[in-house]
């Protein structure tokens, strides 16, 4: 990491082609956090700001001394805070060829310097590294003043530190969530969340399901489990909105090893349960279909997302849909639906 010269190198396969390998949901989730971080982290957060610099009027022997003492191969050249060039060992060699050691930095420095701005995402620095094939870039602020240097090592370190922060937060969150169930002693502890769903309320349709999903994530469920429950809850919630007389209740019951979602309503009830379970069977109105619903796939989707689904109904009295999802024993966080 000591070299400073803007020397060329070949881009790696990854830099040239990006990621091609098909990834699983779980892979994607992890790789994705790093990708996200490369957009979230700013260059200023990872760069090195403690710098050795030279000035244009500095004698070559003095710069040589700076390079030698600090064991670096180049320094940015700064005048009145502004970056005006970069001076490297190669420039010394050029001076040496002419046997010209009485000159100053300004005569031999490289004036056209590739820089990155401190307020940009590190993904910008990664692109610049790839395009320019340089190993180290000066960082400037919006007034073109030199504020730091960035290397690929800085980026790697920055991402690792951010991941570590994430990890700690996640640990803490799961610690708290699992304690909800561990600290409260009972023979059977259940957390119940109820949502009142109004018939025909398309505007708020999906609100409750969104809250259910968020609640599960906060309780420490992993992304895939929360997604399955979210989708099942959403289809069930839309069924209450589309098909009931007076709406109904969407309920989430969380236990350490199992999640139960259910909807209850007071009518109209389903005359033929066999039929509504068939893919494609629908009684939805044109209005509902125009909204992209009512394709007769709701219950099919739910069944796909949960481990067990039961539908009971009495015409004139109402329906009850129960969806059960098993959570592996070690934690509420599941590794996805067992296949």
């Amino acid at each position: 990491m000591k070299e400073m010269s803007q020397q060329t190198r070949q881009p790696t396969e990854q830099e040239k082609y990006g990621r091609h390998r098909p990834v699983t949901d779980r892979d994607a989730q992890e790789i994705n956090r790093v990708e996200e971080l490369s957009y979230d982290l700013k260059i200023r957060e990872v760069m090195t700001s403690n710098l050795h610099t030279a000035t244009p009027d500095m004698p070559l022997l003095k710069v040589l001394e700076i390079l030698r003492v600090n064991r670096i191969s180049g320094v940015p050249v700064v005048q009145d805070g502004k970056l005006v060039g970069i001076f490297s060992i190669e420039d010394i060699v050029r001076a040496l060829e002419k046997n010209d050691f009485s000159s100053t930095v300004s005569q031999y420095m490289t004036r056209e310097v590739v820089t990155v701005a401190e307020y940009e995402s590190i993904v910008k620095a990664i692109q610049t590294f790839t395009d320019s094939r340089l190993g180290r870039l000066p960082v400037v602020n919006k007034d073109d003043e030199l504020v730091g240097m960035i290397t690929k090592g800085d980026i790697t370190r920055g991402i690792l530190l951010a991941l570590q922060r994430d990890y700690k937060e996640e640990e803490l969150r799961r610690y708290r969530a699992s304690h909800l169930f561990e600290d409260i002693i009972s023979d059977r502890t259940t957390l119940v969340l109820r949502y009142n769903i109004k018939a025909g309320d398309f505007t708020h349709g999906g609100n409750a399901s969104g809250n259910i999903k968020r609640a599960l994530l906060r309780l420490g469920a992993d992304a895939q489990l929360a997604r399955r429950c979210g989708i099942a809850a959403y289809e069930a919630e839309m069924n209450l909105i589309i098909h009931t007389n007076n709406g109904g209740i969407l309920k989430l019951e969380v236990e350490p090893h199992k999640i139960t979602l259910s909807t209850t309503d007071d009518g109209p009830g389903i005359p033929d349960i066999e039929k509504v379970l068939q893919p494609g069977y629908s009684t939805a109105t044109d209005k509902v279909r125009e909204m992209g619903f009512g394709a007769g796939m709701g219950l099919v989707n739910i069944k796909r997302c949960v481990d067990k689904m039961e539908l009971e109904s009495t015409v004139g009295k109402g329906s009850k849909l129960t969806m059960r999802i098993t959570v592996p024993p070690e934690t509420i966080a599941s590794k996805g639906k067992p296949t």
């Binding site: 994607a28 990708e35 999906g206 394709a295």
Partner: protein
């Protein structure tokens, strides 16, 4: 692919200027049936659709999309935009049709994020 590149390729207009479009999009998915979206999409994609009601945003949120593009220059109702801002779901409207738009994005390297379409 960055959402900004997708906006450029789709000749799109951003309907939610409040939201950042500096978003990393992993793939694309087209549908006009919300049940299809819920059944077979994968997270972190862009949803390309002809539907513009608020449910599209809710569905996209539940299915973990990162942005929505409306085709044929369709303009959603204000409610849709409000929910999108609240849920941090960038909305774009493109003058292109679904086939042309999808083709352009696919040619530019955006992968299909259609999951397993089996209904069993």
């Amino acid at each position: 692919m960055n959402l900004n590149d997708i906006i450029e390729l789709s000749e799109g207009e951003v309907l939610t200027p409040e939201l950042s479009t500096d978003v990393n999009i992993h793939g694309g998915y087209c549908a006009d049936l919300m049940s299809d979206v819920l059944a077979s999409s994968r997270p972190r994609a862009v949803l390309i659709t002809g539907l513009t009601n608020p449910q599209v945003v809710r569905t996209a949120q539940i299915a973990e999309f990162r942005a929505i593009i409306f085709i044929r220059g369709k303009q959603p109702q204000q409610e849709t935009i409000e929910i999108a801002i609240q849920e941090n779901m960038p909305l774009i409207t493109s003058p292109l049709g679904m086939f042309e738009l999808t083709g352009r994005l696919h040619d530019a390297g955006l992968k299909s994020y259609e999951g397993n379409v089996s209904t069993n």
